[in-house]
């Protein structure tokens, strides 16, 4: 079924009796050409592009719980292409271009809203860094504008410009950045993949890999053995736990990132604002809630909840930047488990097992990468070669000294 304005009107007039489920609930078959482990945004996007762009059939997505129940439903919905390093920026620019055409492509309203992202600067050094980053972005086909204080004031007059310690001196504005309805991304990809014959199998946990002579044969699951010529794992948050079953140790630690949403307010923040003097970023959802977050909790954890000191830290930063936040009531907060990699950058690579591929290590930047991650992982699974914008995301880059350390803090995952 194709969704359209006409269809909505027709169904409204006929009692909404014509809607069909957006995807099937098939029984797993005994064997597939390609099995994607993980029914989150990245896994579903991978299956979608494998079927649509690379012409594969006999694909399954295996999900432990329900699709979209992990980090694709637990993020702050921001999309952007404002990275500095050559290994990263072409990839994120490719991703943003895919976001721009995504809704037409998969015929689902994901509410992609390019409302602009403003990274504030508070010192001369930060302005220099912002100028350099902006130039790197422009060189890679993205967009960037350096604003002075008056430029920021015109956009967001309610910020605390005269903070004695951190006065706002300007900002780097990335107009094509914005937000997306996160759940709809998982649903849109799932529906698009299902329409192209992909079996989306929920409540199916992968419990092991069957490997013989260094070659993958299939996966053991809670619903029986499933044979596969190729297996792609995209389970960020649980990467170490799943890849351990294939005998791998990863350059990843799991950490929890908390996020918060306030009660619904009248329109107040038109875009996305990030504080340059503390870790805090904020946008306003279409329902009116202020969506914001900050630092990870800093210690290894698989619990999808954090502790109070970080809540206090995030809200202190928020109130320092936007004093009006002090009057806003918090509606809820939540936590998601992140694959924090050793250099803050992800992996899309083969493994030492033939036919087993790995996608993970997204730190807390995985949501914006969803379309490009799916496309590039599909490219790797299909052709055995990395996509040209994802050649740097190798698992062995620490051995070869080719780290992509966007923040320049070294092998300390909780600092990225």
């Amino acid at each position: 079924m194709r969704y359209s304005g006409f269809r909505v009107i027709k169904e409204a007039l006929t009692g909404h009796k014509g809607w069909t489920p957006a995807w099937r609930d098939p029984e797993p078959k005994n064997e597939y050409d390609i099995v994607v482990v993980g029914g989150g945004g990245h896994g579903l996007a991978t299956a979608y592009y494998l079927a649509k762009e690379f012409g594969h059939a006999r694909i399954a997505v295996l999900e432990k719980g329900w699709i979209g129940g992990g980090n694709v439903g637990r993020n702050t919905t921001i999309i952007r292409s404002n990275y500095l390093l050559d290994g990263n920026e072409p990839f994120y620019e490719f991703s943003l271009k895919l976001w721009e055409g995504l809704e037409q492509d998969f015929n689902f309203n994901a509410m992609v809203s390019q409302r602009g992202i403003l990274n504030l600067v508070h010192t001369d050094a930060q302005r220099d860094a912002a100028r350099r980053r902006g130039n790197a972005m422009i060189l890679n086909g993205s967009d960037a504008e350096l604003l002075d204080t008056a430029g920021v004031r015109a956009l967001y007059p309610f910020l605390n410009f005269s903070n004695a310690r951190f006065p706002i001196k300007g900002g780097l504005l990335h107009r094509r950045g914005g937000t997306v309805r996160h759940d709809a991304v998982a649903w849109g990809y799932a529906r698009g993949a299902d329409q192209r014959g992909v079996d989306i199998i929920q409540n199916c946990e992968v419990t092991g890999f069957r490997i013989e002579n260094g070659k993958i044969l299939g996966v053991e699951t809670s619903r029986g053995y499933i044979g596969a010529k190729k297996v792609g794992v995209a389970v960020a948050g649980s990467s170490s736990r799943v890849m351990e079953k294939a005998g791998m140790r990863l350059p990843i630690e799991s950490h929890v990132l908390q996020a918060f949403v306030s009660e619904g307010l009248k329109p107040m923040i038109p875009g996305v604002i990030t504080f340059g003097a503390g870790h805090f970023y904020c946008s306003q959802s279409d329902k009116g809630g202020l969506v914001f977050g900050g630092d990870i909790d800093m210690y290894n954890t698989y619990a999808q909840r954090g502790n109070l000191p970080v809540v206090e830290d995030v809200i202190e930063s928020g109130v320092a930047l936007i004093p009006a936040l002090g009057r806003v009531r918090l509606l809820r907060g939540w936590g998601g488990v992140m694959d924090m990699s050793m250099d803050g950058s992800p992996f899309i690579d083969r493994t030492q097992v033939e036919g087993l591929y790995f996608n993970g290590g997204w730190c807390y930047g995985g949501f914006k990468a969803t379309p490009a991650s799916g496309w590039c992982f599909a490219h790797l699974l299909s052709t055995d070669r990395p996509h040209e914008v994802a050649t740097a995301f190798r698992l062995d880059r620490f051995r070869s000294g080719r780290m992509i350390d966007e923040k320049g803090v070294g092998a300390q995952p909780n600092l990225h």
Partner: protein, 95 residues
């Protein structure tokens, strides 16, 4: 989280800085044949278990001691806190 410091008693985890897996105590021998390989694994690879995890915490806002904390990464329950100095000596490190 409350960390029960062996010398100071229960202290808020906010006073501490987290480093990571306690295997970081076991720095490889830099003169060994396989030193490059061993240092790669030591620096970059982690077990990252779901469950019991032994990890290094530094009491920065307190007595500046390093602790080995055994904590469950699924529940955040802390079951044991030792001075890293004692752990390292028991493993034959240091003088």
């Amino acid at each position: 989280m409350i960390i029960d410091h062996p010398l100071l008693g229960p202290r808020d985890a906010q006073e501490f800085v987290y480093l990571g897996d306690a295997t970081l105590i076991d720095r490889p021998d830099w003169q060994a044949e396989n030193a490059a390989e061993a240092f790669h694994d030591y620096l970059y690879l982690r077990d990252n278990p779901a469950g019991e995890h032994r990890e290094l915490w530094y009491h920065e806002q307190g007595d500046r001691s390093w602790l080995v904390v055994t904590r469950n990464t699924l529940t955040h329950e802390i079951t044991s806190v030792e001075l890293a100095r004692d752990v390292a000596r028991a493993r034959g490190r240091g003088r």
